[in-house]
């Protein structure tokens, strides 16, 4: 695509480029593992993938799980990198995923540091109660009513059904397609499993009506990490760099206080998407690879409306047939996403970026999008009260 090539040629020396990625084993339980040792594995893995020296890393946005140290303080990682760090980011939502990449990328462009590692992971209970985020953190307006994370998405999905006639079958189709993608990815939890049908999804136990168990992502243990550096440094590495060509964030309200109302959520993220594409000098029509946040089937459907690829209320029809497969015009979550892969608390947010990077690097065998040049990545949450997005482009030539 001419527009993409033009975008790449304009890459300046300090534009952020992803040069290293790593995904640990992901499973419902990883006996004997700790969050700290999972993160160590991810850090070493990402460094090896990038082909950098650990002393090259001068910025750290790594979750600090302890033991020891101030809770969450990323500066605790400094000794591991053999030199004083120039930049850290510590909040648990900023040491991962799109937010992590955008903030680290901004720091790199500003000249605060040159090479940043981002990562998080979990083994064992996510918090002291062992419950999922949004159900055990002492959330005053949520806990008494048992408003789980999936219930948040369910309230939005139910209203979408009411207003637009969206059906459980349309949502189940999304879940079946993405879960079946995971059958081909050796790293996916459902790798090698049996083909899953819409009927299987609808026959699975109801969790938060209209979402069945198989409409929901897999809650796992595991970790992810990635490394960003300047375009200039990336050119000296053997690995094929993937440029962060654009990105943006959008927040509607705090998570886990009030109910998500469809009239507020609607196409939340659309303004961010437009900013991100504007920054990249591209449009959604240029996208070859879709890495959409998939905590549940419905949110994927909503995000296609948000992208403007179909009208409001038309997502159910839009996602039907082969459209989201490798043979369709919107290949989506070909790694199996979180539906066939992993939700670990926060690291799945990085996982979304990693699949985009890998598709643009190429060589993914039977899940590779041919000649992939542009990937869109989304992170979102809580039904959805926020959305963050990246536009990634291949090569840094």
């Amino acid at each position: 695509m001419a527009s993409v090539s033009a975008g790449l040629s304009m890459a300046s020396a300090r534009d952020p480029v992803v040069v290293g990625v790593y995904v640990s084993e992901q499973a419902r339980s990883l006996p004997g593992r700790t969050s700290h040792d999972l993160l160590l594995e991810c850090v070493k893995g990402a460094i090896a993938d990038a082909g950098v020296d650990r002393r090259d890393i001068d910025g750290v946005a790594l979750e600090w799980p302890g033991p020891g140290g101030a809770p969450g303080d990323s500066a605790s990682w400094a000794p591991y990198f053999g030199a004083p760090l120039k930049w850290v980011e510590s909040h648990f939502m900023d040491t991962t995923g799109v937010r992590g990449v955008l903030k680290a990328g901004a720091a790199i462009q500003a000249g605060l540091c040159d090479t940043v590692i981002i990562g998080s992971g979990r083994a064992g209970p996510f918090n002291t109660t062992g419950a999922a985020v949004g159900s055990g953190m002492g959330l005053e307006w949520i806990d008494p009513y048992g408003a789980s994370t999936m219930a948040y998405f369910a309230l939005v999905a139910r209203r979408h059904m009411h207003q637009f006639g969206t059906t459980p079958e349309q949502m189940a189709h999304v879940a079946a397609v993405i879960r079946n993608h995971g059958r081909l990815n050796p790293e996916a939890t459902l790798h090698g499993g049996p083909e899953i049908t819409i009927g299987d999804i609808l026959a699975s136990p109801m969790i938060a009506d209209p979402l069945h168990r198989l409409d929901c992502c897999l809650m796992n243990e595991g970790g992810h990490a990635l490394i960003l550096t300047t375009a200039e440094r990336a050119r000296d590495l053997d690995v094929k760099g993937v440029r962060v060509a654009g990105g943006a964030m959008e927040f509607a309200q705090g998570n886990y206080i009030n109910p998500p109302l469809y009239r507020d959520v609607r196409s939340l993220g659309q303004a961010a998407i437009q900013r991100a594409f504007g920054m990249a000098g591209l449009t959604v029509a240029d996208v070859d690879v879709f890495c959409m946040y998939d905590p549940c089937s419905f949110e994927v459907l909503r995000q296609f409306e948000m992208l403007g690829l179909c009208g409001e209320g038309e997502g159910g029809d839009f996602v039907s047939g082969d459209r989201l497969t490798l043979n369709g015009d919107c290949p989506t979550n070909l790694d199996g996403g979180m539906l066939a892969g992993s939700w670990t608390g926060t690291s799945q947010l990085t996982g979304k970026v990693i699949e985009g990077v890998r598709q643009l690097r190429g060589g993914l065998g039977d899940r590779q999008v041919k000649d992939a040049e542009v990937a869109i990545v989304t992170n979102a949450g809580s039904g959805a009260q926020h959305l963050e997005t990246l536009v990634l482009t291949g090569a840094t030539a």
Binding site: E140, G146, L155, D209, N258, P259
Partner: protein, 136 residues
């Protein structure tokens, strides 16, 4: 004036809300500057930043904006299924609640509902909503 013991987590901001619920009243913060309601309670009015607001009793006549029948509770001790709802109140705010006394096949977005007060799984008396008895 008595200050009842509340054996669940409350904040200085929210204590009056739960005390009122225990007495069978639904109250919400209303700004004395712009006169608008907001929810949940915040230090300042989310419409105009004024810190001058008062707890105000509302009629408790609302509409079911959306709902989900929850079959898998996020924490132990919650009997299932229960009906989690987003309730729209005409005073101009929405809130989480449970819907009670309603056959599941009668649940529908837009259903007129009215407030009642019932104990939740943790023993607290909380506002819940049931189908409106008289439709005006």
């Amino acid at each position: 004036m008595t200050t009842p013991e509340l054996d669940f987590p409350v904040t200085l901001l929210s204590r009056p809300y739960w005390e009122a619920a225990a007495e069978g009243r639904l109250i919400a913060p209303r700004c004395n500057h712009c006169n608008r309601f907001f929810f949940a309670p915040e230090i300042a009015c989310t419409h105009c930043f004024s810190t001058d607001w008062s707890w105000t009793e509302v009629a408790g006549q609302g509409e079911l904006y959306s709902y989900s029948v929850i079959h898998r509770a996020p924490q132990p001790g919650m009997p299932t299924p229960y009906v989690l709802a987003a309730i729209d109140l005409p005073e101009g705010f929405a809130m989480f609640a449970h819907v009670v006394d309603c056959p599941l096949d009668k649940l529908a977005c837009g259903l007129p509902v009215e407030v009642d007060f019932r104990p939740l799984h943790d023993g607290r008396i909380a506002p819940v909503f049931k189908p409106r008895q008289t439709v005006s």
